[in-house]
Symmetry: C2
Amino acid sequence: MALRHAVLAALLDGEYSGYQLAKAFDVGVANFWHALPQQLYAELTRLEKEGLVAGRQVIQENRPNKRLFHVTDAGRAELEEFAAAVAKPSFIRDDLLVKVQVADRIGTASVIEQLEERASAAEAKIELLGKLLRQLRGDADEEEFLRRGERIGPYLTCLRGIAFEQGHRDWCLRIATVLRERRTTHAER
Amino acid sequence: MALRHAVLAALLDGEYSGYQLAKAFDVGVANFWHALPQQLYAELTRLEKEGLVAGRQVIQENRPNKRLFHVTDAGRAELEEFAAAVAKPSFIRDDLLVKVQVADRIGTASVIEQLEERASAAEAKIELLGKLLRQLRGDADEEEFLRRGERIGPYLTCLRGIAFEQGHRDWCLRIATVLRERRTTHAER
DNA sequence: CTTGGCTATGCAACGAGTTGCATAGAAGGA
DNA sequence: TCCTTCTATGCAACTCGTTGCATAGCCAAG
């Protein structure tokens, strides 16, 4: 049971359709979870069957009808239970790490390229999340907002997202530099 | 195909049994991948069937016999192909983020506890990885080692591991503080 | 002397995530 | 006009990861 709670969490902020959720979870909802549309539609069906969310049909003209979902009392209770239970530790799981692990044994050229691509992807995400942060806190400065803001949850997870991307970017650039410099100083095979 | 390459990467450094790999992958092999023993035994069987690794039986006294595996030429080729292919972006996937996302809507007490537990777990891992780094680079300082060291792959992934854990620790402590302070200044429900 | 942990391997069932595909009308650009 | 993209939902097959269990002898601590 992993995605269910992320969906319930997202639906706490209002009514959303599967499609809307899918777009949010595609980016990673400010880095707090990621999922594909298929997963979300399936999960919503299951959640509805179990009474944790309820949906209402909205008839639209000029575009397909949709179903908007909201969390029920049972769903809120489920979330509270989840929040109280212990979470298991998280791991990084990234193909790039495996590649770097063996980069000095096999070719480095392609790995360096990938590191730099990742770095600029991370940079882009940092920008994006930075804008999101500014938008979430409005006029207030961060300290002020975190002390008195109404809805700080998304802001807090977004902070983690940014920090993660910054760490990722810095590491990618550092490693790319290290590998590049070794190419010039070492005999390349 | 995800774990296979991590296993091949690990076996590049020598001959290991499933059990030895399991211990390394339990910690997370310096944060470059994580897997359970069952997965590893299954993967080793598959890799052997496909000729990417080869194993030899070692008869032992006073303890069960074991099979030591090494990478074949085909396995090395497979790894090179993998390293050249594009890797897809990575996401954080952590229950704690979901909990923080909704912490201001439901209870915060248990979330704060979990954040602090996580922070000290991260601290412990930072210590551990720090020792591993010192061990890997021996007498040399970091710059020197990264320029001329023989086997820097594990060092580089370990650097990412440390940075990740530091980011995690800092975020956990920050968020715990924020949530605590809100408890005193806000009307708690 | 019993209990628990370590070495060592593996099967079976299940849960979670990914890939591929199908439908279908409307809007907008080449 | 044709092609693509957007809205909107979902099934089916598959791969990957987790949980639970089984075996079995050795060693150390209580």
